[in-house]
Amino acid sequence: MSILLDRDSRILIQGITGRQASFHTERMMEYGTRVVAGVTPGKGGQFHLGLPVFNTVEEAVRQKAPDISIIFVPPLAAADAVMEAAAGGLKLIVCITEGIPNLDMLKAKRFLAELGSSLIGPNTPGLISPGQGKAGIMPASIHRPGPVGLISRSGTLTYEAVYQLSRLGLGQSTAIGIGGDPIVGLKFVELLEMFKSDSQTEAVLMIGEIGGQAEEAAAEYLKRSGYPKPVAAYVAGLTAPKGKRLGHAGAIIEGNEGSAQDKVKCLAAAGVRIIENPARIGQTVKELMAERQGN
């Protein structure tokens, strides 16, 4: 199967006429993803990349019935775009934009919760279900269909992990970037829960990093739920200094919270296989899966 995205998904691109959005929309279509429309206020009625452009999400939904929206809108307008997608009835919204203010995201998340929409990101490469569709900006060529579910807070480190997995013959069911910001939508817990009941997914790889409590929450969930599938995790930032933001807005050790050491400790205590060497992510997942099959 895969989670969240499959070959029947109908994609809407908000901000489709922008340079980045255009480039990545073409890549998604090349991959076979069914992109059905775009939205750019003021450009309704035009065609872009052969797709109809609408002024509003409402109109796009009426005409083309998309079920996932991908947002490439500048930071100060992006939260509004996220809420517009939710108000239009989209149940999954993927926000690629980096640099959205925290307070905007707090408002958007409450708005989405009321309407029952889920958010991936912001500040994410998006998600891909290899062989089925791609809703994001990751290089498609490194991915293979297969049994590993991947949840990550990072971009290029995810590509690195995927590359290692694919090279060892381990494909991915769905690979999701949850975003590098302090306030993001779906996190490890919700996605682990989805992978739990996905028949294609045999093991889950988590890629965490310093900052926040999402890995700790995942550890608690895994322990409490008696998670049935093997889980491995790499947490970046063991060498990170305190109080310094490392690239991602959310990657910062604040006070006593958010160190990689604490996260690793919690995850290990929850039975997660900890990957210490980031060059051996694929290898470790492979060994873990082999061990479990041996039992």
Partner: protein, 386 residues
């Protein structure tokens, strides 16, 4: 973005919050004059962008203008290493000279974006002046929190709950509510991450005085906060940090010998971690980002190569949006310019990697190509120790 205490106090004063009388001084003479004006008995507070100043000797009392001058002579130009400043410390360039506020009851007041609960929180404690995180572990009942949302702001009953918890004297009660209302509105209006008044002193005459203040703003909000952005002190940045900032590179200086140039924050952290794993020390965190230009790569590389602490460099690129050939061109351009005398281990993977390696290969410079992540890290470590 953190701002200085004197800047934060000026912002609070505009809101009508009472702060101690004080003057900013940059020299010994200015300190003496300021102390004189304030009646001699003063507190000198080193202005650095870090907490934990007291323990590091950055806050000093003086009972005369002369002694204030002597203390300033010791403080100005001194490097303060606090628990939060990092090992290199921060140089004191300005001193806030303040009147001595008679000790009274000290309370803690904080407003924060609570990332875990995805709400805003107003936090108070009767035990002012302490480290609030430690207190929340050792004595959680000494703290009261009220969560609120940006749409409604802090509600009046919540402010009242906090005031009753603090058991404030009647004469301070209304002022406290007024402060909380203004501060919480300011917090939302200015895209803040953290606002702490610690301590807020209740003077014997029941006047509330904000004795120490910390303000941290959401970097992502700065684009719509020109007044706050203008408070940033670029002189605090090293020349390297300034260069990195102007080319939109995410750069953080560290203590080690291996310069790292990586695309993507996660991979950059992982690269530092693997260096440590094999017994080396990273000299920096550097994420060149997704929208990087050839010129920016070149500048980034120059920052590393000109760092005297750096003995070897590790370039780790996983090309996606960033093309390996663009990175290669940037590297060659800067290596030619700076008379490169350090070994550079290069790992190029992904978009246009072959073209990237060809460009580097033809440059006749001290590059080592290793495609394997682990071997690249091991080689960089051994070269840095040679």
């Amino acid at each position: 973005m953190l701002i200085y205490e004197f800047q934060a106090k000026a912002l609070l004063q505009e809101l009508g919050v009472v702060i101690p009388a004080g003057h900013l001084a940059e020299t010994v003479d200015e300190t003496r004059v300021a102390a004189q004006k304030l009646g001699g008995q003063v507190i000198l507070k080193a202005q650095i962008l870090s907490g934990g100043r007291g323990k590091a000797g950055g806050i000093v009392a003086a009972d005369s203008a002369e002694k204030a001058g002597l203390a300033a002579a010791r403080l100005l130009g001194k490097k303060l290493i606090t628990a939060q400043s990092g090992g290199r410390g921060l140089v004191v360039k300005k001193i806030l000279v303040e009147e001595f506020v008679l000790p009274g009851r000290e309370i803690y007041l904080g407003l924060v974006v609570d990332r875990k609960n995805e709400k805003l929180a107003a936090i108070v404690s009767q035990q002012g002046g302490v480290e609030i995180e430690e207190l929340s572990k050792s004595c959680p009942q000494a703290i009261k929190k009220e969560y609120f949302y940006p749409e409604q702001g802090l509600l009046f009953f919540q402010a009242r709950n906090l005031a009753y918890f603090l058991d404030l004297p009647e004469a301070s009660f209304k002022t406290f509510l007024d402060y909380l209302k203004k501060l919480s509105e300011f917090f939302l209006l200015r895209d803040m991450k953290l606002l702490e008044i610690n301590p807020l002193i209740i003077k014997p005459d029941n006047l509330l005085v904000a004795a120490d203040i910390k303000m941290d703003f959401d970097d992502s909000g700065l684009a719509r906060q020109p007044e706050i952005s203008a408070l940033e002190d670029w002189s605090e940045l090293s020349p390297e940090e300034k260069k990195a900032r102007s080319f939109k590179l995410n750069y953080v200086k560290m203590e080690g010998q291996i310069g790292c140039l990586v695309n993507g924050a996660g991979l950059a952290m992982a690269t530092m971690d693997i260096i440590k794993l094999f017994g080396g020390q990273p000299a920096n965190f550097l994420d060149i980002g997704g929208g990087v230009t050839e010129e920016a790569v070149s500048q980034a590389f120059e920052i590393l190569a000109s760092d005297r602490q750096v003995k070897a460099c590790l370039v780790n690129i996983f090309g996606g949006i960033v093309r390996c050939d663009l990175v290669a061109r940037g590297l060659v351009a800067s290596a030619r310019k700076i008379d490169l005398n350090k070994p550079i281990v290069v790992r190029l993977q992904g978009t246009n990697e072959a073209e990237g390696r060809r460009i580097l290969g033809e440059a006749n410079l001290p590059f080592y190509f290793i495609n394997d992540f682990e071997q690249a890290a091991q080689l960089a470590v051994s070269l840095s120790q040679a």
